[in-house]
């Protein structure tokens, strides 16, 4: 019995690893995606919007199966890990790009005008005026998204990534004690997400004390 608890707990590494990888990909790609969306001609902007909508409209489970079971028909065979990272990474990119859009929209017109009047170039304006304020308003939303992504990663169990949920399922088959095994899984998810929520509130509170947005 106890051995299975350890067996499930080890899956936390895969859960956190998958979540972190997807989140980092999301941040890294969402920033240029949002830049393109704000600067490119309308046609390109429309394409980006369409891609984001398609990614978000189709359930991640369907995406996982499409890539994992569908791509081999084109001769592209990806293992469970690459599939999960690609699918959740794309999902993160789409969601974080939307979060950034909201954050940018929250910045007052006066900030842009002040930056323009000072003669700041587009990149400097983005880096020194817009980005810090976007980060400030989006930290709580990004943390909420990270927590939901952590839970979303459980879907990877369906294609054989040995994370928490997969292991709880396997342990249930071996012991017949689904209640205990999935309770353990639930508690591990809880323990993983609590620090995120805590850290987010702390950072948010600290930034809020320092400055409020104009």
């Amino acid at each position: 019995m106890m051995e299975y608890l350890g067996y499930i707990a080890i899956g936390a590494g895969a859960t956190v690893g998958l979540t972190a990888a997807a989140f980092v990909i999301g941040i890294a790609l969402a920033v240029p995606v949002e830049w393109v969306r704000r600067t490119a001609p309308p046609f390109v902007r429309g394409l980006v919007n369409a891609a984001i909508d398609v990614i978000r409209a189709v359930p991640n489970l369907v995406w996982l199966f499409l890539v994992f079971f569908g791509m081999p028909q084109f001769g592209i065979v990806l293992g469970p890990w690459p599939t999960a990272i690609i699918v959740l990474g794309m999902y993160s990119t789409a969601c974080i790009a939307e979060i950034l859009r909201g954050g940018i929209a929250a910045i007052g017109q006066g900030q842009w005008e002040a930056a323009n009047a000072l003669g700041l170039r587009q990149f400097d304006r983005a880096r020194f005026v817009v980005a810090p304020q976007v980060l400030r308003v989006t930290i709580p939303v990004l943390a909420t998204f990270a927590i939901s992504l952590l839970k979303e990663s459980a879907l990877a169990s369906t294609i054989g990534v040995l994370e928490i949920t997969y292991r709880a399922g396997y342990a249930t088959q071996r012991t017949g004690d689904g209640l205990t095994m999935f309770l353990v899984a639930g508690v591990i998810y809880l323990l993983l997400s609590l620090p995120l929520a805590f850290a987010s509130r702390r950072v948010d509170g600290r930034l809020r004390a320092r400055f409020s947005l104009g």
Partner: protein, 241 residues
């Protein structure tokens, strides 16, 4: 210039001498702010010519918008102070004033910081260098914003209703700073409802109504003997309050 079908500013021509202080007054919606914002292209006029020193930018109807490089060059001649201050809330007063010095003028950090401190001193806020705008009063924020604009050593300072968001008493400290700038010979174009300031500080008052200049002249003459009934009506509305 136009917003959709609405012509906000029509055929306005204004020449300001070096060191001159021009106050633009007039009823709301007269296009005062729009005109001011056309000068540094925060609004793009349909057509017109802007000349500062030996730099000229010509905009013709139907022509492509001016290039970013041209726009930056034009803006480098103007410092702008907004009604709502528009300080960067995530930067300290010092950083607000230093940012464009470093990124636009390419000044090294120590030089820009010491220049920023001088400017803070000049607007009477040396002790606020490390404060964030959110921890400063409106009047203090506006003085920091003036220092920020001055830091780039513009040829002309544009003020867009700089005291309208402040209560009258606090507005005085901003007007005091502006008086000092005028005394030091800074060229200023000020859109304002502060007639006392326009009377005492400006060299010339320009009255704008319905997107056009109705009349202009030295303050004493214009305020005492306005030529147009519309000007008289506006002045009495402000003065009889």
């Amino acid at each position: 210039m136009q917003f959709g079908d609405l012509v906000a500013v029509d055929d306005v021509s204004l020449t300001v001498d070096r060191g001159e202080v021009v106050a633009i007054i007039g009823p709301s919606g007269a296009g005062k702010s729009s005109f001011l914002r056309c000068l540094n292209l925060l609004e793009t006029p349909t057509r017109g010519r802007i000349r500062v020193g030996d730099f000229t930018l010509q905009i013709d109807a139907g022509q492509p918008a001016p290039k970013a490089r041209e726009v930056h060059r034009l803006r480098s001649h103007f410092g702008m102070v907004f009604q709502g201050f528009n300080l960067f809330p995530h930067l300290t007063a010092l950083e607000n004033i230093s940012l464009a010095q470093r990124r636009v003028l390419g000044r090294p950090q120590d030089e820009s910081d010491s220049r920023s401190r001088e400017l803070l001193e000049r607007v009477g806020l040396a002790e606020k260098a490390l404060s964030y705008p959110g921890h400063c009063s409106g009047g203090q924020q506006q003085r920091i914003a003036i220092a920020r604009a001055l830091a780039l050593e513009p040829a002309v300072m544009l003020f867009d209703e700089p005291t309208s968001a402040l209560d009258p008493e606090i507005g005085l400290e901003v007007l005091q700073v502006m008086r000092e700038l005028a005394d030091e010979g800074v060229t200023m174009v000020v859109v304002t409802h502060e007639l006392a300031f326009a009377r005492d500080v400006s060299d010339r008052i320009v009255v704008m109504v319905s997107g056009a200049i109705l009349e202009e002249g030295p303050p004493a003459q214009l305020l005492r003997h306005p030529q147009h009934a519309r000007t008289r009506k506006f002045l009495s509305a402000v003065l009889d309050r």
